[in-house]
């Protein structure tokens, strides 16, 4: 089994608060791995350390066996680690076309090109068209992002992360806040990600977690409580105790 993403004894404190405690995760190549835990368990803090937004106090992060702990955010992206955000982080004034075009340009190394106009490279255009079509954004590609309905923005959020052609994709609550009517699109998109992309899913929605993940890690107060295949985690009395009163775990 090849390990796509790994943390070794990750520690993070905010003042006196230990938000990540001696966390060692191993996510297998091609896995559909879910990281769950009650509110305040420190899930997003883990993502922020994996992507480089936050620096861990100690411990290492390895992407495909290579130490990326000290790399800045954009370098990790170029190495194949991309993410979506729990709360949309989009460019309000830009259109979906521009947003995705930029991500594709950066990946292909044209991002620093200051002479050639946007839209004049056919390889970039082809990829943009492909992504816009796959994410049902073709009809709104010239609208300002801020004016799009929330569901569309959510799709764009995921499309931008995919545009970086990640080998490891971190999805931070992809369906959060999406109205019931538009959920289907999101779930279909997440479900149809190519198998060679390793996915780490952070999610509150247990239906989504158990239908999607083939392995689940449970995080409580910043530490790993348990890890295993979905049915085992669902039966775990400790997990039930943690979720008791918050949300029932159904398989």
């Amino acid at each position: 089994m090849t390990i796509a993403l790994e943390t070794r004894n990750l520690e993070k404190t905010f003042g006196g608060l230990r938000v990540t405690r001696d966390l060692s995760l191993r996510i297998a190549q091609g896995a559909r791995h879910a990281l769950i835990g009650p509110n305040g368990a420190g899930k997003t803090t883990v993502i922020n350390q994996l992507t480089g937004v936050l620096k861990p106090n100690s411990g290492r992060i390895l992407l495909e066996g290579q130490d990326i702990t000290d790399l800045p955010v954009h370098r990790r992206v170029l190495r194949g680690l991309s993410r979506t955000f729990q709360i949309n982080q989009l460019y309000a004034d830009l259109t979906p076309l521009e947003t995705i075009g930029l991500a594709v340009s950066e990946r292909l190394g044209h991002g620093g090109d200051w002479w050639r106009r946007m839209g004049t490279r056919s390889d970039v255009n082809g990829e943009i068209a492909d992504l816009l079509t796959r994410f049902h954004l073709l009809d709104v590609m010239n609208e300002q992002t801020v004016t799009l309905p929330y569901g569309k923005q959510r799709l764009l959020e995921i499309a931008v992360a995919i545009a970086a052609k990640p080998r490891v994709l971190l999805l931070d609550e992809p369906a959060a806040g999406v109205p019931e009517s538009e959920r289907h699109d999101i779930l279909a998109v997440v479900g149809s990600l190519p198998r060679d992309v390793t996915v780490l899913l952070i999610e509150h929605d247990m239906d989504l977690v158990f239908s999607f993940a083939d392995r689940i890690s449970v995080l409580v107060s910043g530490a790993l409580l348990t890890e295993g295949p979905p049915d085992q985690v669902a039966r775990d009395p400790q997990v039930k105790a943690v979720y008791l009163g918050e949300e029932a775990v159904n398989v």
Binding site: H74, A92, E106, D113, W114, M118, N125
Partner: protein, 342 residues
């Protein structure tokens, strides 16, 4: 049309020339022939427009606020003055480029300080750099002429052919040519992937980094380019007026520039140009009516722009400018206080 070529077509929508833009430049050119008695003020407007375009590159596109943009204007002005005074580079166009490069070097060095902070820090850092340079220019009076400035600058003919005349005709067309060339370059830059990445950084630096944009490197690059533009504007000032004095570094010059962009709007390149015209006209009108208190009226106009807000002004006073902006820029104008449109 296939989806791919469709995407290419729409991606270049902003970059294509609009009729309004061509009309704008034709009107500017026509002014050179229509008002032969007003070359000096019109040249002044062109310089201010170029200077404002420089600030627009960092403020309107990359979201970097600055209260000390005169630092680069001043370096360009003194560089051009010294080059001409000591006969180092006599040909004005070459000297102009050299002066721009001098400002560019300073801009590159200063950018490392500027990218460290956020808005308020940036305001203070940029302001500080400009004040510092002003003090240095005063201190090293053996080079700069101190409070007297550089005097007795004798400008050689442009390209060895066209001498500067006392009516300022050559100076006007020279400035217009420089402005237009640099405008074309800026236009090219802002519609490139690089330019788009600046807008992304301005909108959301967190996400910009998360798609692989080296945020700091891009900010350093555009800040350096903007410094080059400001330096050229300063050099034009010296070359067309044949003086360079300490006030090229003055705080008022940096502050006026903000006002120009408040009036003209940011992020579509014409804001600085339109703002410069309106700002100077207002200044002229008010100083004719009340020579002593014109600043009061300018201040009042700005307070009104800021207080009444862009929305209501769009439908009222600024209806015409905005119509123009839409024609020229092909997009909605952002006419507001720069700090608040983050």
């Amino acid at each position: 049309m296939s989806a791919s070529s469709d995407v290419g077509f729409h991606a270049q929508r902003q970059a294509r020339w609009h009729y309004g833009e061509a009309a704008f430049w034709l009107v500017v050119l026509a002014c050179g022939f229509l008002f032969p008695s007003r070359y000096l003020i019109m040249t002044d407007i062109l310089r201010l427009a170029l200077f404002a375009m420089s600030l627009d590159l960092i403020l309107g596109y990359a979201g970097i606020v600055s209260l000390g943009h005169a630092a680069f204007f001043g370096v360009g002005a003194y560089a051009a003055g010294l080059l001409a005074l000591h006969g180092i580079i006599n040909e004005p166009v070459l000297a102009l480029i050299a002066a721009g490069l001098a400002a560019m070097v300073l801009g590159f060095a200063a950018s490392f300080l500027v990218i460290r902070g956020v808005d308020l820090t940036r305001l203070m850092v940029t302001l500080g750099i400009a004040l510092l340079l002003e003090a240095l220019a005063e201190r090293f009076s053996n080079i700069t002429g101190g409070t007297d400035g550089l005097q007795g600058i004798d400008m050689q003919p442009i390209l060895g052919q066209i001498p500067f005349d006392m009516f300022g005709k050559a100076g006007f067309f020279y400035s217009l040519a420089v402005l237009f060339v640099l405008f074309l370059l800026a236009r090219r830059i802002v519609h490139s992937p690089f330019g788009l990445s600046l807008r992304a950084i301005k909108n959301n630096p967190l996400r910009a980094a998360a798609i692989g944009i080296p945020v700091n490197r891009r900010l350093i690059a555009i800040y350096t380019v903007a410094a080059f533009y400001a330096g050229i504007a300063g050099a034009l000032f010296t070359q067309t007026t044949a003086i360079a004095s300490l006030d090229v570094f003055a705080f008022e010059r940096s502050a006026d520039l903000m006002l120009v962009l408040v009036i003209g709007g940011t992020g579509y390149l014409y804001g600085g140009l339109i703002g410069a015209v309106i700002f100077r006209i207002l200044q002229e009108v008010f100083s004719t009516i009340t020579p002593q208190y014109w600043q009061f009226w300018i201040g009042l106009v700005l307070v009104v722009i800021v207080l009444v807000g862009r929305q209501r002004l769009h439908y009222g006073v600024l209806y015409l400018p905005n119509l123009l902006i839409k024609q020229i820029g092909g997009r909605k104008a952002i006419v507001t206080v720069p700090e608040s449109d983050a």
